[in-house]
């Protein structure tokens, strides 16, 4: 049984059909890239899966449970966490706090515990901090040491992207949805992040779906590539299959003049 299975998914914004009858499945342990030209519906797809938008029709089954209609926080708790195309951290919170917030749905201390400092609250608080540091250590020295107490808004662009991944990791997901993780990064940083995505699977065992424009990254990390255009799945397959597919080339480069007439 696939970890994520999507059937006849539809979403329209007014007259625009952003997602049109999408069928997709992601197996446990896979890295799937979603590519497509601008406006193909990639981010809308992520929004629908994570509950930030509600589909008009169709089913999204994660780990045997239909998540359509659940709130984003409920979906996250089932084990799906995402990052955002235009990095959306909590700017006035520290690096550590950003990651600690990620653990909100996995912990349960209430206000009563916080005010009366109950032993269970203190234990949990210590665990949250420890786990947050452990997650940050995944990024080597990038987000370690003095960085823990820096506000996330003072981080460099690349570090913000890393922190967003760390925050998603802290939620304890099985499936990570990365929305253009290398957008705006320089070539060095892109190579490093490609490596990191590999490690996310091999060391942490996450299943990963990523939206990506950089074809080098797509080629290096994906088991399978799904191509979207105008809300429709054009094709899917390995990178080599997809990159030679005529429909894909057409979607990206346009129809040759002699055929278009």
């Amino acid at each position: 049984m696939p970890l994520l299975e999507i059937q006849s998914l539809n979403k329209a914004f007014g007259g625009l059909r952003a997602i049109n009858g999408l069928e997709l499945h992601v197996d446990e342990g896979e890295v799937v890239s979603v590519i497509g030209p601008n406006g193909a519906g990639k981010t809308t797809f992520f929004n629908l899966v994570t509950g930030m938008e509600t589909p008009d029709e169709g089913s999204i089954v994660f780990d045997g449970q239909n998540v359509v209609g659940l709130r984003p926080n409920q979906i996250l708790k089932l084990g799906m966490a995402r990052t955002f195309q235009n990095v959306r951290l909590f700017p006035a919170m520290t690096v550590l706090e950003n990651v600690m917030v990620g653990q909100h749905s996995r912990t349960k201390a209430g206000l009563f515990g916080a005010i009366f400092k109950t032993p269970s609250q203190r234990r949990e608080e210590a665990e949250i901090e420890e786990r947050a540091k452990e997650v940050l250590s995944f990024f080597g020295t990038r987000l370690a040491g003095y960085r823990h107490d820096q506000l996330s808004m003072v981080l460099s662009y690349a570090n913000r992207r890393r922190l967003e991944i760390a925050r998603a990791m802290a939620t304890g997901p099985r499936l990570l949805l990365l929305d253009e993780p290398t957008a705006g990064m320089n070539p060095r940083e892109t190579i490093e992040l490609t490596e990191l995505i590999g490690r996310l699977r091999s060391e942490r065992g996450y299943t990963i779906v990523l939206i990506e424009h950089d074809m080098q990254v797509v080629r290096n990390v994906s088991d399978r590539v799904v191509v979207l255009d105008h809300g429709v799945k054009l094709t899917e397959g390995t990178y080599d299959e997809v990159s030679t597919n005529e429909k894909v080339i057409e979607a990206y480069l346009g129809r040759p003049a002699e055929l278009g007439a």
Partner: protein
């Protein structure tokens, strides 16, 4: 940031001389200062303050206030510009004094113009304060032509003094300004200090410093205060480190012993405060404490959770009315006549219900919309309490009277001095709750919601619970304030729960420093205690509130004592500059360049 961080080759740069002081800026400031001085005179502040002596009989408050403006604008005009990269730091010289004098002169000429205007035309039909008395005060009783020159010269002199301040070393400057401020503070807060010395049975000090209890400073008194504070500030400015830094540097065990000791000393002092300060000041402190309690609650709602609640007074009213109904024999509908203390659990429950009632409809609202809806709720609460329809329960405009005093065991609290202690206790509890919650799971969830609601939800925060809980915690703290208020005053009337209360509480946390307990405390002291001590000027209270707000928003939007993160948030640009300088060091040498820059 990585793009801008390509390290430049370390080269010896020759610094260019600092640009000279901008005289056009001095002209602009002079005209602005003139406008301020004319405004102060035309609104009647000068005339109202004139009979009040700061130092008897030589310095009246009205004129002092006017010329302090000239001094202030001269100080601004003479301020050396910030040192820019590649330039030498500016050194202060005669040009600074000149700029100050120029600004002062222009400001003085504006006042002179006003004086001519007043003497030539009778403008009292429109500007009721532009009276011959004002002309008399402004012109020092001299003929107009002479007076204009005297004003211009005096104002220029004050401006020049303001500019000359920049010539002094930091230590001298701070000592001098501090001592002068001390003299003015001692004079303005004559009631407070009179009560303090009387409470300490030091009547002779009052006779020495003041012309009488509640009177102006005597010349000798002013000189003595000035001298004493010169010595004090000179010593304070001369130390290498502040006490705070030294305590921070101590080993952990010693530091906590110091902190506990300091806390004990403060508690002992606070224990004696109401006894020494008498009913008048105690009443002010109790009022400030109740406002502080509300401000700490609103700080959680607005400062932490980012929910701008403009109807916060409703929760204050819920607390006050719940206590009133449950305790007063005059309660119209039903009167169980339980004690005030026994009513507190019910107050908590009522406030929680009210919090949920307000929060539920605004669950899906953000920002401005939420503010407007809560504003409506606040007004609805007041109108319902005032209505004939609900008069059988709340007593309508007659309110509910005869609320008994607070009793805890054998102790009965009746005077303002008595109430100081329970109010203080509740404030302590509220401050503790604020601290405890800040570093907790829900505190972080609130902050995440404030930063970005949809992302917080996508990261697992249940927005419904987060909003409800923030409103409920805030509502409970405010309701305790209302409960204490009702017990202390002994009656509740709907008109007390006006929108102005909500606004004042909000201003307290904005001016004090959102998200910071010491800041909110200082905000309550400045905005509640000061106006009550300076009741003689209450006519202008909201004018000063307005000026304070504008100046704060322009110069220090993070508040008096901001929380660290808020200060950083509002000064990101400077911060990234500092970070740049820190990385490249002063000599252009890379110290700890982050890897991504390499």
């Amino acid at each position: 940031m990585s793009q801008v961080m390509d390290p430049p080759a370390p080269v010896e740069v020759e610094l260019r001389p600092a640009p000279p002081l901008d005289m056009r800026r001095a002209v602009r400031l002079g005209l602005a200062g003139g406008a301020a001085m004319v405004l102060v005179a035309a609104t009647g502040i000068v005339a109202t303050f004139q009979p009040r002596m700061v130092i008897d009989p030589i310095v009246p408050l009205g004129i002092l206030f006017l010329y302090l403006l000239a001094f202030g604008f001269g100080w601004m005009a003479g301020q050396p510009p910030a040192t820019l990269e590649g330039y030498e730091p500016a050194t202060a010289g005669s040009r600074n004094v000149l700029a100050g004098a120029l600004a002062g002169l222009l400001a003085g000429l504006s006042v002179g113009l006003l004086l001519i205007l007043i003497t030539v035309f009778d403008l009292r039909g429109v500007f009721i304060n532009m009276s011959p008395e004002l002309a008399e005060i402004l012109g020092f009783g001299l003929p107009v032509a002479v007076a204009v020159i005297v004003i211009a010269v005096a104002s220029a002199a004050m401006g020049a003094l303001g500019g000359a301040i920049h010539l002094l070393s930091r230590r001298v400057r701070r000592t001098l300004m501090g001592a002068l401020t001390a003299v003015i503070v001692f004079s303005l807060l004559t009631d407070l200090f009179g009560q303090l010395f009387a409470g300490l049975s030091l009547e002779s000090v009052i006779d020495f410093l003041y012309t009488g209890r509640g009177g102006a400073l005597t010349i000798i008194g002013a000189v003595a205060i000035f001298g004493a504070f010169i010595v004090l500030f000179w010593w304070m400015e001369g130390r290498d480190s502040t006490l705070r830094q030294r305590v921070q540097a101590m080993p952990k065990g010693q530091r906590s012993r110091w902190q506990i000791g300091a806390a004990l000393i403060i508690l002992v002092i606070l224990y004696f405060v109401p006894r020494i300060m008498g009913p008048f000041v105690s009443q002010i402190l109790v009022t400030a404490g109740i406002y502080l309690l509300m401000a700490l609650g609103l700080n959680i709602v607005v400062g932490y959770a980012g929910l701008l609640d403009l109807g916060y007074v409703a929760f204050f009213a819920v607390g006050a009315y719940t206590t009133a109904i449950l305790t007063s024999p005059q309660s119209p509908a039903f009167n169980p006549e339980i004690s005030v203390l026994a009513s507190l659990p019910f107050v908590m429950v009522a406030a929680a219900i009210a919090g949920i009632l307000v929060a539920t409809p605004v669950i899906r609202m953000r920002g401005d919309y939420l503010a407007i809806v809560t504003l409506g709720f606040g007004e609805i609460a007041r109108i319902l309490l005032n209505s004939e329809w609900l008069a059988p329960i709340f007593g309508g405009a007659q309110g509910i009277t005869n609320i008994p005093d607070l009793q805890i065991g054998p102790l009965t609290f009746s005077t303002p001095q008595d109430y100081f202690y329970p109010v203080f206790l509740f404030v302590l509890v509220a401050a503790y709750v604020t601290f405890a919650v800040q570093k907790s799971r829900w505190g972080r969830a609130w902050m995440a919601m404030r930063e970005d609601e949809s992302v917080a939800e996508a990261m697992g925060v249940n927005i419904v619970t987060a909003k409800l809980s923030a409103f409920v915690v805030g509502a409970i703290l405010a309701s305790f304030g209302g409960s204490l208020f009702a017990a202390q005053i002994g009656s509740v009337f709907p008109h007390t729960f006006d929108i102005v209360v909500s606004i004042t509480v909000l201003v307290i946390i904005i001016v004090g420093g959102m998200g910071s307990v010491p800041g909110v405390t200082l905000g309550a002291l400045v905005l509640i205690v000061l106006p009550n001590l300076l009741r003689e000027f209450s006519e202008y209270q909201f004018l000063f509130y307005g000026v304070l707000l504008i100046v704060m928003m322009l110069k220090r939007p993070e508040g008096f004592i901001p929380s660290k993160r808020r200060a950083q948030e509002l000064h990101t640009e400077e911060l990234s500059q500092d970070a740049w300088l820190e990385i490249y060091g002063e000599k252009g040498q890379a110290e700890h360049v982050p890897e991504e820059a390499v």
